[in-house]
């Protein structure tokens, strides 16, 4: 039986994001939110630990007004209880790690699961900072996870070799995309998710950060975008262009 905490994030749907042609700035208005990619892998892994070894999964998200949506999806995937920490304003690992660690430090847990980096900001700082604040080991970049004798064992990817690592519990484990295929909860589970316990807490942030955004814009794309639906015509044109490039 394990007490499992999974932390996840809601992000703007970056795949639907358009860019303003005159300023090169992303158009954020009316862009829908979605559960962040690696967060889904983290939730999936947390639920699998519960299913395999027994226990309970508590989901925590630090989010904005739409966070309930993300939490419902997590509950539908198998998370047992949700805690929404409300008040998220900006991507800032200093703030996020502080908010999460403060909450978790008052909780009972054996293992905390997070994605190793998030698909939008790609910072990768939050897990290590939370682990250090809680004085527990950071066991990072798992593509495989097993529990045995109240220890956690993971396979960690590396460029030259993969490492099999073991740590005592409690520990914080981060997962990579390849660890699992997140389940798509059936409608009936999403409906039932509404009945699971979900707490919302307003968060007052008192962390100082010196970070200021100067600009945030897309590199200019000057692609020709000549797309052929007629394969033979496309092959003829493109092979001509390619012959000019290849000696």
């Amino acid at each position: 039986m394990y007490n499992i905490i999974v932390c996840f994030k809601q992000i703007l749907d970056i795949d639907q994001m358009k860019v303003d042609e005159s300023t090169q700035e992303p158009i954020l208005k009316n862009l829908p939110y979605r559960l962040e990619d690696l967060s889904k892998n983290a939730i999936e892994e947390a639920v699998r630990i519960k299913e395999k070894y027994g226990g309970k999964v508590i989901g925590i998200t630090y989010g904005g007004d739409q966070a309930t949506l993300a939490m419902k999806e997590a509950l539908a995937m198998g998370v047992d209880e949700g805690i929404i920490l409300k008040g998220y304003k900006e991507n800032n690992p200093e703030i996020t790690s502080d908010v999460l660690a403060k909450k978790i430090s008052g909780m009972q847990y054996d293992i905390i699961i997070m994605g190793n980096q998030s698909a939008d900001s790609y910072t990768g700082l939050v897990p290590g900072k939370v682990a250090r604040k809680l004085s527990i080991p950071l066991v990072g970049n798992a593509i495989k996870l097993e529990m045995a004798d109240r220890r956690v064992r993971i396979t960690r990817t590396g460029e030259e070799k993969n490492l099999v690592l073991e740590s005592n519990l409690p520990a914080l484990v981060t997962v990579e995309q390849e660890i699992n295929e997140p389940r798509l909860p059936p409608l009936i589970q999403i409906m039932a998710a509404g009945r699971k316990p979900m707490k919302i807490e307003e968060i007052q942030v008192n962390v100082k950060s010196t970070k200021k955004v100067i600009w945030n814009r897309a590199p200019k794309s000057e692609r020709k975008r000549i797309v052929f639906e007629d394969v033979d015509k496309g092959v003829a044109e493109i092979s001509k262009v390619l012959k000019g490039e290849v000696k």
């Binding site: 790609y122 897990p127 290590g128 080991p137 099999v164 073991e166 970070k211 290849v246």
Partner: protein, 297 residues
Amino acid sequence: MKAMVFSEKADLSSQMLTLFRNTFEMDLYTTSNENLLNFGAKNVFKLTGNNLYVDNISEKLAEMYKNNGYDIIIIGSSAMGREISSLLSEILHLEAITEVMKIEPKDGIIATERFFYGGKTVIREESEAKIFTVLPGLVDPQPVNSSSTENNISIDKDSAIKVVDQIEKPKSSVNLEKADIIVSAGRGIGKKEGLAVIQQLADVLHGEVGGSRPVCLDYHWLSEERQVGLSGKRVKPKVYVACGISGQVQHIAGMRGSRMVIAINKDKNAPIFNECDYGIVGDLYAVIPKLIEAMKK
């Protein structure tokens, strides 16, 4: 300004020492056994110990940072580098910014640039952060004539994490960052055998084969060093041919520097067609053999 530079990797170490040679006075800390004495660091500190991992390395680096009066910490961006930066930032109570492509100090403030929104945008920030991780592949390492002083530091404290096994991977065989022509395979090839036709096209174009993340990391149809994208290699060939790749932001972030992009995809709404110069809507198994035929003529 005095910088503490760390990477466990030799290539990243020499890249960072080249990149910041004219900006900072640098000491390199590394666990690599390669010779890194001629890249312009004042001192090279080799970290040795029985069970080196991110926790005990971070604690040692924090101690050296405090003792040696550094102004800034620059770490090579890798899984290990990012983890060390996050732990250091807590131990030393210093703000960190990861995955940067640029570091420009000015009057106590540091301007940085990094990818944002999954690689869709680049964000420029100013901060008083003191810890940075730097993306690989920003420069070609250039040696200098002078030599660094070599020092050894042994780390006696054990890690809380035990390495119980190591699984060797095949060694690097390509340098995609240097390739003139790249033909990349995406999940759309559907099966490992599909690589044969990708390789044939690469052969007639005298290019290298690359791949999207699922092809390299999920299915292992290609080795990891062939992965193009935000979490893989950032390539800049003359021609990049994307076959069966949808064109998600994280992939585009790795091939945006290509001079010409050609896309083959059976879905005419695939985002890759917004990021290409020439595209063909069709089944890659039908299109590529025709293209190879036409190239041979």
